[in-house]
Protein backbone atom coordinates (compact mmCIF):
# COMPACT_ATOMS: atom_id res chain seq x y z
CA UNK A 1 0.00 0.00 0.00
CA UNK A 2 2.76 2.45 0.94
CA UNK A 3 4.42 1.71 -2.37
CA UNK A 4 1.30 2.87 -4.20
CA UNK A 5 1.04 5.95 -2.00
CA UNK A 6 4.69 6.79 -2.60
CA UNK A 7 4.29 6.27 -6.35
CA UNK A 8 1.20 8.50 -6.41
CA UNK A 9 3.01 11.21 -4.46
CA UNK A 10 6.01 11.00 -6.74
CA UNK A 11 3.78 11.18 -9.79
CA UNK A 12 2.05 14.28 -8.42
CA UNK A 13 5.41 15.88 -7.65
CA UNK A 14 6.70 15.02 -11.09
CA UNK A 15 3.62 16.55 -12.76
CA UNK A 16 3.95 19.70 -10.64
CA UNK A 17 7.65 19.91 -11.48
CA UNK A 18 6.99 19.47 -15.19
CA UNK A 19 4.25 22.10 -15.12
CA UNK A 20 6.35 24.67 -13.32
CA UNK A 21 9.36 23.97 -15.49
CA UNK A 22 7.17 24.52 -18.53
CA UNK A 23 5.90 27.71 -16.91
CA UNK A 24 9.42 29.02 -16.34
CA UNK A 25 10.46 28.20 -19.92
CA UNK A 26 7.31 29.84 -21.27
CA UNK A 27 7.99 33.00 -19.28
CA UNK A 28 11.62 33.15 -20.35
CA UNK A 29 10.53 32.84 -23.95
CA UNK A 30 8.12 35.73 -23.53
CA UNK A 31 10.54 37.94 -21.59
CA UNK A 32 11.84 41.17 -23.05
CA UNK A 33 15.28 41.43 -24.63
CA UNK A 34 17.08 42.87 -21.59
CA UNK A 35 15.76 40.15 -19.28
CA UNK A 36 16.86 37.48 -21.74
CA UNK A 37 20.38 38.97 -21.81
CA UNK A 38 20.42 38.96 -17.99
CA UNK A 39 19.42 35.30 -17.90
CA UNK A 40 21.94 34.37 -20.56
CA UNK A 41 24.73 36.03 -18.57
CA UNK A 42 23.60 34.27 -15.39
CA UNK A 43 23.65 30.93 -17.18
CA UNK A 44 27.10 31.65 -18.65
CA UNK A 45 28.64 32.68 -15.33
CA UNK A 46 26.81 29.90 -13.44
CA UNK A 47 28.22 27.34 -15.85
CA UNK A 48 31.65 28.98 -15.56
CA UNK A 49 31.43 28.56 -11.79
CA UNK A 50 30.90 24.82 -12.18
CA UNK A 51 33.56 24.53 -14.89
CA UNK A 52 36.17 26.44 -12.88
CA UNK A 53 35.36 24.52 -9.69
CA UNK A 54 36.10 21.17 -11.37
CA UNK A 55 38.82 22.36 -13.78
CA UNK A 56 42.18 20.53 -13.58
CA UNK A 57 43.99 23.56 -12.19
CA UNK A 58 45.78 24.26 -8.93
CA UNK A 59 43.23 24.28 -6.12
CA UNK A 60 43.76 27.94 -5.26
CA UNK A 61 43.04 28.89 -8.86
CA UNK A 62 39.90 26.72 -8.80
CA UNK A 63 38.62 28.41 -5.67
CA UNK A 64 39.49 31.88 -6.92
CA UNK A 65 37.92 31.34 -10.35
CA UNK A 66 34.78 29.71 -9.01
CA UNK A 67 34.42 32.42 -6.37
CA UNK A 68 34.72 35.23 -8.93
CA UNK A 69 32.29 33.58 -11.39
CA UNK A 70 29.82 32.83 -8.60
CA UNK A 71 30.09 36.41 -7.31
CA UNK A 72 29.25 37.77 -10.75
CA UNK A 73 26.30 35.35 -11.03
CA UNK A 74 24.97 36.44 -7.65
CA UNK A 75 25.43 40.11 -8.59
CA UNK A 76 23.42 39.60 -11.77
CA UNK A 77 20.73 37.74 -9.85
CA UNK A 78 20.41 40.47 -7.23
CA UNK A 79 20.21 43.17 -9.87
CA UNK A 80 17.48 41.16 -11.58
CA UNK A 81 15.60 40.76 -8.27
CA UNK A 82 15.89 44.48 -7.67
CA UNK A 83 14.48 45.30 -11.10
CA UNK A 84 11.59 42.88 -10.42
CA UNK A 85 10.82 44.68 -7.14
CA UNK A 86 10.99 48.09 -8.84
CA UNK A 87 8.67 46.88 -11.64
CA UNK A 88 6.20 45.44 -9.13
CA UNK A 89 6.22 48.63 -7.05
CA UNK A 90 5.78 50.78 -10.17
CA UNK A 91 2.87 48.62 -11.32
CA UNK A 92 1.26 48.86 -7.91
CA UNK A 93 1.69 52.62 -7.80
CA UNK A 94 0.31 53.14 -11.28
CA UNK A 95 -2.60 50.82 -10.37
CA UNK A 96 -3.29 52.75 -7.17
CA UNK A 97 -3.22 56.04 -9.07
CA UNK A 98 -5.96 54.86 -11.37
Amino acid sequence: MWVLTTLATERTLFIALARHTGCVIDQIRRADYLTKVQYLMMVVFGASTAALAFAPLPQQVNILGAGVAFGITVGLWFSHLLSMVVDAATDLRSGAAQ
Binding site: V24, Q27, Q59, A66, L76, L81, D87, D91, Q98
Partner: protein, 323 residues
Amino acid sequence: MSGPTDSQSDDSLRTDGGGATRGTRDTSSPETEPEPVEPDPTEESGPNLAAFLLTAGSVTAVFVAIFVFAFPEPINQYFAGIVLAVTVITLIVGMVLDLLGYFGDEAKVPAPDDETASSEPTQLESVRRRPNKPLPKQVNFDDEIRELRDHFGGDLPEQMDAFLTEYEKLKSSSQNRKVVAGSLRAALNPIAALVTDEETEEMVDEMGDQLFAYIKADPVDNMVVTEHAFYTDGVQTPIADLQTEQARIKATVHNKGDSAKAEVAVRFKNEAGVPVKTAYLPVGEVVTEARKELNTSVYVPSLATAADVFVVRATQDTPVLDM
Protein backbone atom coordinates in the same frame (compact mmCIF):
# COMPACT_ATOMS: atom_id res chain seq x y z
CA MET B 1 20.59 31.89 -10.82
CA SER B 2 17.70 32.28 -13.11
CA GLY B 3 14.08 32.65 -12.14
CA PRO B 4 10.75 33.36 -13.67
CA THR B 5 10.73 36.45 -15.73
CA ASP B 6 8.62 39.51 -15.48
CA SER B 7 5.54 39.74 -17.60
CA GLN B 8 6.74 42.32 -20.06
CA SER B 9 5.79 41.10 -23.44
CA ASP B 10 7.76 41.16 -26.61
CA ASP B 11 6.92 44.25 -28.63
CA SER B 12 6.57 42.13 -31.70
CA LEU B 13 3.57 40.48 -30.13
CA ARG B 14 1.68 43.68 -29.50
CA THR B 15 -1.31 44.54 -31.58
CA ASP B 16 -3.79 47.29 -31.49
CA GLY B 17 -7.13 45.89 -30.54
CA GLY B 18 -9.34 48.78 -29.65
CA GLY B 19 -11.74 50.44 -31.95
CA ALA B 20 -11.87 47.63 -34.44
CA THR B 21 -15.08 47.03 -36.21
CA ARG B 22 -16.51 43.64 -36.81
CA GLY B 23 -16.20 42.31 -40.33
CA THR B 24 -18.47 39.84 -42.00
CA ARG B 25 -18.58 36.75 -39.87
CA ASP B 26 -17.38 33.70 -41.71
CA THR B 27 -19.41 30.78 -40.50
CA SER B 28 -19.38 28.84 -43.71
CA SER B 29 -16.66 26.50 -42.58
CA PRO B 30 -16.79 24.44 -39.40
CA GLU B 31 -13.03 24.81 -39.17
CA THR B 32 -13.36 28.35 -37.89
CA GLU B 33 -15.97 27.52 -35.29
CA PRO B 34 -14.72 29.14 -32.11
CA GLU B 35 -13.97 26.85 -29.27
CA PRO B 36 -14.99 27.85 -25.75
CA VAL B 37 -12.26 29.57 -23.81
CA GLU B 38 -10.37 27.16 -21.63
CA PRO B 39 -8.97 28.10 -18.27
CA ASP B 40 -5.22 27.93 -18.00
CA PRO B 41 -4.46 25.97 -14.83
CA THR B 42 -0.72 26.52 -15.01
CA GLU B 43 -1.01 30.28 -15.45
CA GLU B 44 1.74 30.07 -18.00
CA SER B 45 1.77 33.66 -19.06
CA GLY B 46 2.34 35.42 -15.76
CA PRO B 47 5.01 35.28 -13.13
CA ASN B 48 4.33 32.46 -10.74
CA LEU B 49 5.47 32.18 -7.11
CA ALA B 50 5.71 28.39 -7.25
CA ALA B 51 7.94 28.53 -10.32
CA PHE B 52 10.06 31.22 -8.66
CA LEU B 53 10.57 29.13 -5.50
CA LEU B 54 11.16 25.98 -7.51
CA THR B 55 13.84 27.68 -9.59
CA ALA B 56 15.52 29.27 -6.56
CA GLY B 57 15.51 25.91 -4.74
CA SER B 58 16.87 23.96 -7.70
CA VAL B 59 19.65 26.44 -8.37
CA THR B 60 20.59 26.45 -4.68
CA ALA B 61 20.82 22.66 -4.65
CA VAL B 62 22.96 22.63 -7.79
CA PHE B 63 25.42 25.24 -6.49
CA VAL B 64 25.69 23.62 -3.06
CA ALA B 65 26.37 20.26 -4.72
CA ILE B 66 29.03 21.79 -6.98
CA PHE B 67 30.86 23.42 -4.09
CA VAL B 68 30.57 20.43 -1.75
CA PHE B 69 32.02 18.04 -4.33
CA ALA B 70 34.61 20.41 -5.80
CA PHE B 71 36.29 21.87 -2.74
CA PRO B 72 37.74 20.42 0.44
CA GLU B 73 36.51 21.40 3.89
CA PRO B 74 36.23 24.08 5.20
CA ILE B 75 36.19 25.97 1.85
CA ASN B 76 33.10 24.11 0.65
CA GLN B 77 31.28 25.07 3.84
CA TYR B 78 31.97 28.77 3.26
CA PHE B 79 30.71 28.54 -0.30
CA ALA B 80 27.63 26.55 0.71
CA GLY B 81 26.93 29.13 3.41
CA ILE B 82 27.09 31.96 0.86
CA VAL B 83 24.72 30.06 -1.46
CA LEU B 84 22.24 29.54 1.38
CA ALA B 85 22.47 33.22 2.33
CA VAL B 86 21.69 34.19 -1.26
CA THR B 87 18.72 31.80 -1.18
CA VAL B 88 17.39 33.32 2.03
CA ILE B 89 17.63 36.83 0.53
CA THR B 90 15.91 35.54 -2.62
CA LEU B 91 13.07 34.07 -0.56
CA ILE B 92 12.64 37.35 1.33
CA VAL B 93 12.52 39.28 -1.95
CA GLY B 94 10.09 36.64 -3.28
CA MET B 95 7.78 37.31 -0.35
CA VAL B 96 8.04 41.06 -0.92
CA LEU B 97 7.18 40.53 -4.59
CA ASP B 98 4.21 38.39 -3.58
CA LEU B 99 3.01 41.13 -1.23
CA LEU B 100 3.33 43.65 -4.05
CA GLY B 101 1.05 41.47 -6.15
CA TYR B 102 3.78 40.64 -8.66
CA PHE B 103 2.93 36.95 -8.83
CA GLY B 104 -0.53 37.48 -10.14
CA ASP B 105 -2.63 36.42 -7.19
CA GLU B 106 -4.49 39.65 -6.66
CA ALA B 107 -7.00 38.06 -4.32
CA LYS B 108 -4.30 38.16 -1.64
CA VAL B 109 -3.57 41.83 -2.16
CA PRO B 110 -6.72 43.90 -2.40
CA ALA B 111 -6.09 47.53 -3.22
CA PRO B 112 -6.47 49.84 -0.21
CA ASP B 113 -9.62 51.55 -1.48
CA ASP B 114 -11.04 48.64 -3.37
CA GLU B 115 -14.62 48.55 -2.21
CA THR B 116 -15.50 45.51 -4.28
CA ALA B 117 -12.79 43.30 -2.81
CA SER B 118 -15.04 41.45 -0.42
CA SER B 119 -18.34 41.70 -2.24
CA GLU B 120 -17.22 40.60 -5.69
CA PRO B 121 -14.75 37.75 -5.34
CA THR B 122 -15.63 36.39 -8.77
CA GLN B 123 -14.37 39.58 -10.35
CA LEU B 124 -11.14 39.43 -8.38
CA GLU B 125 -10.51 35.90 -9.53
CA SER B 126 -10.28 37.03 -13.11
CA VAL B 127 -8.10 40.05 -12.37
CA ARG B 128 -4.47 39.22 -12.40
CA ARG B 129 -1.29 41.25 -11.85
CA ARG B 130 -3.20 44.52 -11.62
CA PRO B 131 -5.21 45.99 -8.77
CA ASN B 132 -8.89 45.76 -9.54
CA LYS B 133 -10.31 49.27 -9.86
CA PRO B 134 -14.02 49.48 -10.41
CA LEU B 135 -13.81 52.93 -11.98
CA PRO B 136 -12.24 53.17 -15.44
CA LYS B 137 -9.05 55.24 -15.47
CA GLN B 138 -10.58 57.55 -18.05
CA VAL B 139 -13.17 58.86 -15.56
CA ASN B 140 -11.20 58.50 -12.35
CA PHE B 141 -10.81 62.09 -11.16
CA ASP B 142 -9.31 61.50 -7.71
CA ASP B 143 -6.17 63.45 -8.63
CA GLU B 144 -8.13 66.26 -10.25
CA ILE B 145 -10.34 66.64 -7.15
CA ARG B 146 -7.21 66.81 -5.03
CA GLU B 147 -5.82 69.53 -7.29
CA LEU B 148 -9.10 71.43 -7.16
CA ARG B 149 -9.03 71.24 -3.37
CA ASP B 150 -5.54 72.73 -3.42
CA HIS B 151 -6.70 75.36 -5.89
CA PHE B 152 -9.52 76.43 -3.57
CA GLY B 153 -7.20 76.56 -0.58
CA GLY B 154 -8.17 73.28 1.09
CA ASP B 155 -11.99 73.60 1.07
CA LEU B 156 -14.11 72.74 -1.91
CA PRO B 157 -16.83 75.32 -2.66
CA GLU B 158 -20.53 74.48 -2.25
CA GLN B 159 -21.01 74.61 -6.01
CA MET B 160 -18.97 71.43 -6.23
CA ASP B 161 -21.34 69.41 -4.02
CA ALA B 162 -23.43 68.19 -6.95
CA PHE B 163 -20.27 67.10 -8.77
CA LEU B 164 -18.95 65.24 -5.72
CA THR B 165 -22.29 63.51 -5.14
CA GLU B 166 -22.46 62.34 -8.74
CA TYR B 167 -18.82 61.27 -8.62
CA GLU B 168 -19.46 59.15 -5.52
CA LYS B 169 -22.40 57.57 -7.34
CA LEU B 170 -20.17 56.81 -10.29
CA LYS B 171 -17.56 55.24 -8.03
CA SER B 172 -19.90 53.19 -5.89
CA SER B 173 -21.94 51.50 -8.60
CA SER B 174 -21.32 50.21 -12.06
CA GLN B 175 -25.03 50.42 -12.94
CA ASN B 176 -26.07 53.10 -15.45
CA ARG B 177 -22.62 54.57 -15.38
CA LYS B 178 -23.04 56.46 -18.61
CA VAL B 179 -26.16 58.22 -17.31
CA VAL B 180 -24.34 59.17 -14.10
CA ALA B 181 -21.36 60.30 -16.19
CA GLY B 182 -23.75 62.58 -18.12
CA SER B 183 -24.95 64.15 -14.84
CA LEU B 184 -21.35 64.43 -13.70
CA ARG B 185 -20.45 66.31 -16.85
CA ALA B 186 -23.34 68.70 -16.30
CA ALA B 187 -22.21 69.23 -12.68
CA LEU B 188 -18.81 70.22 -13.99
CA ASN B 189 -20.10 73.49 -15.50
CA PRO B 190 -20.31 75.55 -12.27
CA ILE B 191 -16.75 74.49 -11.43
CA ALA B 192 -15.49 75.77 -14.78
CA ALA B 193 -16.99 79.16 -13.92
CA LEU B 194 -15.35 79.21 -10.48
CA VAL B 195 -11.75 78.41 -11.34
CA THR B 196 -9.51 81.38 -11.90
CA ASP B 197 -6.16 80.22 -13.21
CA GLU B 198 -5.68 78.97 -16.74
CA GLU B 199 -4.10 75.66 -15.85
CA THR B 200 -6.99 74.55 -13.64
CA GLU B 201 -9.45 75.72 -16.26
CA GLU B 202 -7.74 73.50 -18.82
CA MET B 203 -7.87 70.60 -16.38
CA VAL B 204 -11.62 71.04 -15.89
CA ASP B 205 -12.14 71.23 -19.65
CA GLU B 206 -10.16 68.04 -20.07
CA MET B 207 -12.31 66.33 -17.43
CA GLY B 208 -15.38 67.32 -19.45
CA ASP B 209 -13.81 65.97 -22.64
CA GLN B 210 -12.90 62.69 -20.96
CA LEU B 211 -16.45 62.29 -19.66
CA PHE B 212 -17.83 63.03 -23.11
CA ALA B 213 -15.51 60.45 -24.70
CA TYR B 214 -16.51 57.93 -22.03
CA ILE B 215 -20.23 58.50 -22.62
CA LYS B 216 -19.85 58.13 -26.38
CA ALA B 217 -17.48 55.14 -26.37
CA ASP B 218 -18.50 51.59 -27.05
CA PRO B 219 -17.31 49.35 -24.18
CA VAL B 220 -15.14 47.29 -26.50
CA ASP B 221 -13.33 50.45 -27.68
CA ASN B 222 -11.56 50.37 -24.35
CA MET B 223 -10.44 46.76 -24.70
CA VAL B 224 -7.15 45.88 -26.27
CA VAL B 225 -5.27 42.70 -27.00
CA THR B 226 -2.01 43.42 -25.21
CA GLU B 227 -0.18 40.35 -26.46
CA HIS B 228 -0.82 37.30 -28.55
CA ALA B 229 1.06 34.38 -30.07
CA PHE B 230 0.39 31.15 -31.92
CA TYR B 231 1.65 27.82 -30.67
CA THR B 232 1.86 24.27 -31.89
CA ASP B 233 2.91 21.50 -29.52
CA GLY B 234 3.66 24.17 -26.93
CA VAL B 235 6.19 25.96 -29.16
CA GLN B 236 5.59 29.46 -30.43
CA THR B 237 5.36 29.23 -34.21
CA PRO B 238 4.97 31.76 -37.05
CA ILE B 239 1.59 31.67 -38.79
CA ALA B 240 3.15 30.77 -42.14
CA ASP B 241 4.28 27.44 -40.64
CA LEU B 242 0.82 26.63 -39.28
CA GLN B 243 -1.17 26.71 -42.53
CA THR B 244 -4.03 24.19 -42.66
CA GLU B 245 -3.31 23.21 -39.07
CA GLN B 246 -5.16 23.51 -35.81
CA ALA B 247 -2.96 25.89 -33.79
CA ARG B 248 -3.19 27.16 -30.27
CA ILE B 249 -3.59 30.90 -29.72
CA LYS B 250 -2.78 32.62 -26.47
CA ALA B 251 -3.85 36.22 -26.10
CA THR B 252 -4.35 38.69 -23.27
CA VAL B 253 -7.28 41.10 -23.33
CA HIS B 254 -6.98 44.23 -21.20
CA ASN B 255 -10.17 46.11 -20.41
CA LYS B 256 -9.45 49.78 -19.70
CA GLY B 257 -13.13 50.67 -19.64
CA ASP B 258 -16.35 49.32 -18.24
CA SER B 259 -17.07 45.67 -17.72
CA ALA B 260 -18.36 44.11 -20.95
CA LYS B 261 -18.59 40.89 -22.90
CA ALA B 262 -16.17 40.61 -25.76
CA GLU B 263 -14.75 38.38 -28.43
CA VAL B 264 -11.28 38.24 -29.88
CA ALA B 265 -11.28 38.37 -33.66
CA VAL B 266 -8.37 36.75 -35.48
CA ARG B 267 -8.22 38.01 -39.06
CA PHE B 268 -5.83 35.90 -41.09
CA LYS B 269 -4.20 37.59 -44.06
CA ASN B 270 -2.20 36.33 -47.01
CA GLU B 271 1.15 37.64 -48.22
CA ALA B 272 -0.49 40.55 -50.02
CA GLY B 273 -2.21 41.57 -46.79
CA VAL B 274 -5.65 40.53 -48.02
CA PRO B 275 -7.87 38.97 -45.34
CA VAL B 276 -8.56 35.31 -46.07
CA LYS B 277 -10.60 34.31 -43.04
CA THR B 278 -11.65 35.64 -39.66
CA ALA B 279 -12.20 33.55 -36.56
CA TYR B 280 -14.11 34.85 -33.53
CA LEU B 281 -13.11 33.55 -30.11
CA PRO B 282 -15.30 34.44 -27.14
CA VAL B 283 -13.62 35.64 -23.95
CA GLY B 284 -16.79 36.31 -21.96
CA GLU B 285 -17.17 39.13 -19.49
CA VAL B 286 -14.04 41.20 -18.87
CA VAL B 287 -14.35 43.41 -15.81
CA THR B 288 -12.97 46.93 -15.47
CA GLU B 289 -9.17 47.15 -15.56
CA ALA B 290 -8.93 43.34 -15.77
CA ARG B 291 -6.65 41.29 -17.95
CA LYS B 292 -8.18 38.09 -19.21
CA GLU B 293 -6.28 35.38 -20.97
CA LEU B 294 -7.50 33.50 -23.97
CA ASN B 295 -6.00 30.10 -24.57
CA THR B 296 -7.78 28.13 -27.24
CA SER B 297 -7.29 26.43 -30.58
CA VAL B 298 -7.96 27.96 -33.94
CA TYR B 299 -7.76 26.65 -37.49
CA VAL B 300 -5.16 28.49 -39.56
CA PRO B 301 -6.30 28.58 -43.19
CA SER B 302 -4.01 27.91 -46.12
CA LEU B 303 -2.31 31.02 -47.59
CA ALA B 304 -2.37 32.75 -44.19
CA THR B 305 0.95 34.38 -43.38
CA ALA B 306 -0.11 36.98 -40.85
CA ALA B 307 -3.03 37.79 -38.60
CA ASP B 308 -4.60 40.82 -37.00
CA VAL B 309 -5.89 40.10 -33.51
CA PHE B 310 -8.34 42.58 -32.01
CA VAL B 311 -11.38 42.82 -29.76
CA VAL B 312 -14.95 43.02 -31.01
CA ARG B 313 -18.26 43.20 -29.21
CA ALA B 314 -19.70 39.81 -28.27
CA THR B 315 -22.89 38.83 -30.00
CA GLN B 316 -25.86 37.50 -28.05
CA ASP B 317 -25.77 34.15 -29.84
CA THR B 318 -22.15 33.38 -29.03
CA PRO B 319 -21.81 30.56 -26.53
CA VAL B 320 -19.41 31.66 -23.82
CA LEU B 321 -17.74 29.54 -21.21
CA ASP B 322 -16.49 31.98 -18.62
CA MET B 323 -12.97 31.45 -17.33
